[in-house]
Structures are given as C-alpha cells and as structure tokens.
Subunit: 333 residues, 3 copies
C-alpha cells in the first residue's frame, strides 16, 4: 500500500515536472502579474495617460525575472522578447485587464475562486523559473553555487527585485524601500527555492529533482492560497527568521556609535531614511497593525516604512505600511 | 519622363544610402547634441564646476544610442569608445561649444541658417542609426521583430531614452517624467522609423531599403526644419495618436477604483505624480501654452508636467512645461 | 653602488609585481572597505534592521570594481561571485566587523597603527586591479586606449563610482552628488593609475610594467598614509588641477546665458543642485573648513556640497561637507 502510494506520488511528481508552462500556466502568471500592476497606486492613471508606459511596466512585471537574470549573466536582456508568442500573449492580457469595457476581465479574474486558481497556477511557474535559472547558471559556473542561487532567485523573483526601476517607468521613485531592505514574502520564498535547488543540483541535497519540484510547488501553492483565504500577511518564515536573527545578529547594541555617527548629531530625515525611527513610530505601527509581522525585531530583512518627508508624515507612513502589507500578497512575483 | 524621374530618384536614394556619416554628418550630430546639452538648465554650471562630469554627459548625449543598444544586446557598452577618432571628434566639439572664448562657437552654430543645416544633417544620421540597430538585431534574432524594433529604437533615440540617468550624472533627478511617460517628438519619430525598417527587413513592407531610407530621411528632415522655422511643438503624429487613443484606450472610465485606490483615499503628491492633475493645472497649462499639444486627451504617451513638490509649485510646473516643450525641439536625439 | 641600488630596486619591484593578493592583501581590502561602509551614516541601522541588505552593500563595496568592469565589457557581473573563497572571506569579515560582540573587531582594526597597515595593504590591491582592468580591456581593444582607461578605472574605483546605487540598496538616495561631479581622492588617483598603465601598455610610456607598478604603489600608499596621519583632505593633485583648470576651462564667463537660462529665471533648488551656490555658502564653507581644498575654483571635478532641500539647510551642508571630506579618506575605494 505504502509502496503504491509512493509510486503514485513519484509518478505524480514526474508528471508534474514534465508539464509545459505554455500557454496556460504562463497565461495565469501574466494575468496575476498585470492585475497586481493594476492594483498599484496610480497605475490606472498611467494607463489612461500613457498606455505605452503602462505596457512597458506590464512587460517588466511579466518578464522581469528573465530580464534581470540576463543582465546578471551578460546575456541579452531582450532575449525573452524574441519569443514573440509569449510577448503577444502577455500584451493581449495586459490590454484586456486594463482596457476591457466596464473592466470586465479584471472583475472576473478578481472573483475569489478564479483568483485562487490563477494564483496557484502562477506559483507553479515560479518553480520552473527558479529551476531554470539555477540550471542555466550551473552550466557556466559548475562550482559557483552563489551565482546559481543569485540567478535562480533573479529569474523567479526578478519583477519584485527590480521594482524600484519598474516604478520609475511610471514616474514613481521610492528610494527608502526596496526588496532587499524590506523583502516581501514572494521574494523570500523564491530565495528559499533557489537555495534548495542549488543544493540539489550540487548534490548536497539527496532528493531527486522532480520530487523537490513537487514538494516546493506544493509548499508555495498551499501557503499562497492560505494567505489569500485568511487575508493574512504573516509570513511562515517569521519564527525561523526571529530565531536566526537572535542567534546571529542580535549582539549588535542599539546605538552603536561610529566616527560618522559622532560627527553627525542631527541626522537629516530627508536623506537617511534607514535611521532608527523614533520609538513612537514603531509603537504606533505595531498598535495599529495589530497582528502584523513585527517590524524589526527578529526579522532579517524588514525595515519599518519610514517616509522621507519628515516626522509630520507619521499617519501616512502607517497607512503606507498597512496598504503595502496588503498589497504584498498581490504583488507580481 | 516619369521613368527618368523615377530613375533619378532611385539613383538619388541609392546614392544617399551609400553616404558615409563620418566625418561631416557625425560632426553635425555631435554639435547639435552638445548644444542641446548646453541649453539644459544648469548645464553651464556643471561645465564650470566639473568639466569631467560635463564631458561625460556630452558623451552620453552623443553616443547614448550605441551604449543603450549595447546594453540591451549584451554587447560591450564601451565598444563605441574604441572608435577613438569619433570620440576625439566629439570631445573637441564639446570643448569648443562649452569653452570657446566669448562662446564664439555656440553663437555661430546658433545662427538660424547654420543651425537648420546642422539639424538637417543630424536628422540624417538618425536613419543610419535606426537601420544599423534593426540590422544588427536581425542578425541575432531573425524572427524577433520586437527585438529589432527595440534595438533600432534604442540606437536611434538612446540619448533621450536614458535621459533620467544622463541628468543624474549632472546631479539632477526628475523621476516624475521620462521618455516613456512623456515621449518627445524625436523619440516618437525614431520609434516609427524602427517599426518601418523592421517591417521592411522582415519583408512585410514591399519597399527597397534605399528607397525607405530616402523617404524616411526626407520626412524627418522636413518635419524638423518646419518645426524649427515655425517654432511649433505640434507633433505631426497628434491626429493619428488621438484617433488610435479613442479607438483603443478610451473605454477606460475616468476614475477606475481598484482595491488599492479604495484603500488609499489621499494620494501623496510627492510620490505618485502620475495621478490626475487638478483640473485647474490642466486648464492653466493649456491657456498659457496656447497652441501647445493637448496634454492628455488622445495622446498615447503624454503626461502633464506635474511637479513632485506639491501644489504650491503650480506656477513653476507651467513654466517647466513651457520650457521643456520649447526645449524638446532642441533635445539631443 | 648605483648599479647595485638599481638592481636591488629592480629586484624589489619584480618581486612585488609577483605577489599574490590572496589572501592577505584581499583581506585587508575587505576589512577596510567594510569598515568604511560601517562608518557611513545609517549603515549600522541597516545592519540592525536588514542584515541581508547590509551584506549586499558590503559585497558592492568589496567587489564593486569587478562588477562595474564586467557590466562595461558585457561580461557576467556575477563572475566575481563564482570565486567562492573570496566571497566567503569577504562575508566572514563583514560579519565580524558588524556583529562581533562589543564591536571588538571594528575597534581593533580602528587602532591607528593597525588601520595604517591595513590601508597600505588595501592601496596595494588598487594597483593590481587597475592593471588587471587595463590588461583585460587591452586584449579585446588593442587600440582602444579610452576603453582601457575606463575599464582600469572602473576595476580600481568601481565601488566609489557606483556609490549612488550602493546607497540605494540601503534606502538612501542622494542624486545631487556623485563621483563624477565631486570626485574623491581615491577615484582621482585610480584614474591617474589607469592612464599611466594604459600609456605603458600602449608603449607610450617607456617604463617596464613592474617598475611602474612599484612606483605607482609607493606613491598611493605614501599619500594615503600621509593623509591619514595628518588628518588632511588636501589632495596632492590640487595644484595641478588648478593649473589645468585655469589653462583649459577658465575662459567660461561666470553667468553664461543660454536660451534655457533666459527662460528659467528662478532655478529650482530642489532640482538643479549643481547651480551656483550663493556666495555666502561658498564663503562660509571656506571659512569653516579653513585649509580645505578650495571648493570650485580651479578644481576640475569639485562641486560644493549643495543640499537639495533649500537654503534653510545652510548649516547642515557645511557639516556635510566637513563630514564627507573626512569620510573620503576612509571611503571604500
């Protein structure tokens, strides 16, 4: 019985590893990505005023991973655009999501059961992209496991990693935050996948490739669906991150003075927005967000939303934090 | 008679297609580009304080297309700088335009008849660059017509496309606008050329290459000269753009609410400068500019100049719009 | 006697040219770089809140040159990360400098004699990097001496040249200044080295390679140590720069009007921070700095620290200037 179950599972994972992403899973990825773009503040305005810039942003959302990994490996960033059928498909989806009469396509795709299915399918494409990036890097750099992790990560989460520059296309510039300072859940889970697949490719993880693909895919799909159903932003990695942070990084005293800090008694809030926020900002963020992920303590890559326009924006930064946390569930990656 | 006329024209276009751009047409391109740089607000100050940064900016203006297309095709961005004679020529021109005693060179080149001739010659180099980019991409991606368009466009209008980063070299950062959000005439006409040459290379346009070069060159030279003589910023594409916009993109309702819009009742003017400007800004821009291109209605890639520093800058943004529209005639591309 | 002395020196320079940078000199480079990062305002906060972003910044400080030269030559920017032992070494050093209990490692390395030795060893690696870059470019572009200079410069001073983007990783964005507008001493001395090694490689400088390496290394080590011991920011190039500036660039009148200047009577301080500072700012900077390098006059690449937040920040900009000048001695490059 158990052997049958194992054989069935093995067969299932083998079968899944041979699935082709085109056209259904890729379409789901494009639909969810473009919807995430549409839900960014100001995106609809950009679509109204400059359809070309809106289309360009959508292409960055859809193909950001391929572009970023191409740049890192010195391969043509435009190579993904030579696959005309994929680009046409993404463009048609973009047009329908942004410009269909009465927003019909967007409203249908927002219907919760539909969105769940599309999101699940999109998450499956993540596995393929991460594995593709790790494999591609592994061919050029056999022992370069850092490069393999970086390329797998870039290919799977590139759209989020280049978010500052994608926003620049839409005329938005938010330098005080980025995916490294304030890593969203999709970026973290992609990094985890890149590490796992690199270990597997380098023979450090004694798991067959198709089994790892299966387990990883199930994990990310189930988590994503759970977070959407419970409307929760609580990352499943939070306990592990808190533990690692306490173990490795918590010996740093609260106010370490270096020579620069001694010479600059008044830190300009408009420049260095990574300075320690006043305690009341942290407290108010925690109290308003309630069950939100703790802003700094124990989180290896979290920074409270500090606005570069000064202390008078205390209220707005809380709103920003709440809004951006809700949006991170719907972010493109 | 007609046959003779045709043969003459054919001979003329063949002869033109065999012209060498170096050194006269390239020189004209460098002179007009450096003059356009000099006319940017603050450029003379940068020249006075940091000649090196000024020279670097000038090289981006002169070779921006080659650099950008190199980056897109993963070819060395510095390859154009290996052509030492071109770089020396551009550097000498830069020096003369910025530092000649009593600004003699700049004043001579600003003399209208001289400037018309130089601008006409510069526009001719645009044809060669676009065609060069399309051909280069076509060798690597035979069916990749999107790549061909992108590379042809980048090579012909790269200086404008990377303008945000060229301004950064001079210490200026204007994220609220870029060439995709607010496409200038040179960028639009280059995109048109890239599309035409791609169609011709892919055998969809039944025109001989040298004839297309001739027609396109005459079109862009005549338009540019007309716009300079009439001091008009009215784009010849405006009616076509308005028609396409109404046909394809006008079904979008004025205030589409997405989940993000519902959560963010007050949109920060300092971040999202692509939001709908208040009606009075639009009205005052139109009334002060008089015959300026309509700001948004029907324009596929236009965004009114909105300044990220808040409503108090209403007057300045009108001036900016007026100034930048006048300057777009003299922009480097 | 003289022949013996010459032979000894020749032997010494030959011996030095054959030194391996790994692991001691590379370690010194990593230690000094990471310490320079730690001394940047806000870096300790970033280390506390987002160790990942801090690590990424440290890698940009340590390997910025290799990354930038890779991007310029269209070689994989990640290639330097395939050398796992170097990256591991740099990461361990980063961890010890930022997170050792009681800041022990940082305090030990800050002890002046230790810091002098480490800085001297780091300066030696500069020679190897510049020469490596010049040689690498020389293989692809035999006559492209501009490319050779650019790649040698990028490889030796890349960390400083990409400083705007490294700061962006930490959530800081300071567009009003960059290494081209306001070249620091390490960047200048690296440019000099790139020029010398290019001339030597192109046979224009009749000096043996190992002798030039020796002379250049002695020059930069001695200067750096002198500047650290005297706490001086006075660049040894200042007289030469002043002379060249007067000779080549001083004919530019104080207030050159171009068409753009005529149309923009009030220059927005928030955009163009390269405009002429008011005379009182210049005067107060000079009087407070005393013996500081003159801010503009005669300096080919210097711009006074002008803050983009308006005249009310007059005091802070002076502090900034003083702080940044002190920090330039400790900057990573």
């Amino acid at each position: 019985m158990e052997l049958l179950a194992l054989l069935n599972l093995d067969g299932l994972s083998l079968g899944m590893s041979r699935l082709s992403m085109y056209p259904y899973f890729d379409s789901a990825h494009y639909i969810v990505s473009v919807m995430a773009l549409k839900e960014q503040p100001g995106a609809v305005e950009v679509a109204r005023r400059s359809p070309f810039a809106c289309w360009f942003s959508a292409m960055l959302y859809c193909f950001g991973g391929a572009i970023l990994s191409g740049l890192l490996l010195a391969e043509p960033a435009l190579a993904c655009f030579s696959n005309t059928s994929n680009v046409l498909l993404a463009s048609v989806i973009w047009y329908l999501v942004f410009y269909s009469p009465q927003d019909l396509v967007y409203k249908c795709a927002s219907f919760l059961p539909v969105r769940l299915v599309l999101t699940g399918m999109k998450e499956m494409t993540r596995t393929w992209k991460v594995l593709g990036g790790v494999t591609q890097a592994g061919k050029q750099y056999k022992e370069g496991w850092l490069v393999m992790i970086a390329v797998g990560w870039a290919k799977g989460a590139g759209g989020g990693l280049i978010s500052n520059f994608e926003q620049l296309v839409r005329g938005i510039w938010r330098p005080e935050t980025n995916e490294l300072l304030n890593m969203s859940y999709p970026t973290k889970v992609t990094l985890l996948g890149a590490v796992l697949f690199t270990l597997q490719q380098s023979q450090y993880l004694p798991v067959a490739k198709h089994n790892l693909m299966f387990i990883y895919t199930i994990f990310i799909v189930v988590n994503k669906v759970r977070m959407m159903l419970t409307r929760s932003t609580a990352s499943p990695f939070a306990p592990l991150e808190a533990f690692l942070y306490q173990l490795l990084f918590a010996s740093q005293p609260e106010e370490t003075k270096t020579r620069a800090d001694a010479q600059v008694p008044v830190r300009s809030p408009s420049r260095d927005t990574c300075s320690a926020p006043k305690k009341d900002v942290v407290a108010s963020v925690i109290s308003r967000n309630g069950s939100a992920v703790p802003e700094t303590n124990g989180n290896i890559s979290c920074v409270p939303e500090a606005n570069g326009n000064g202390a008078a924006v205390l209220e707005k930064s809380d709103k920003d934090t709440a809004v951006s946390k809700n949006q991170s569930n719907k972010k493109c990656d």
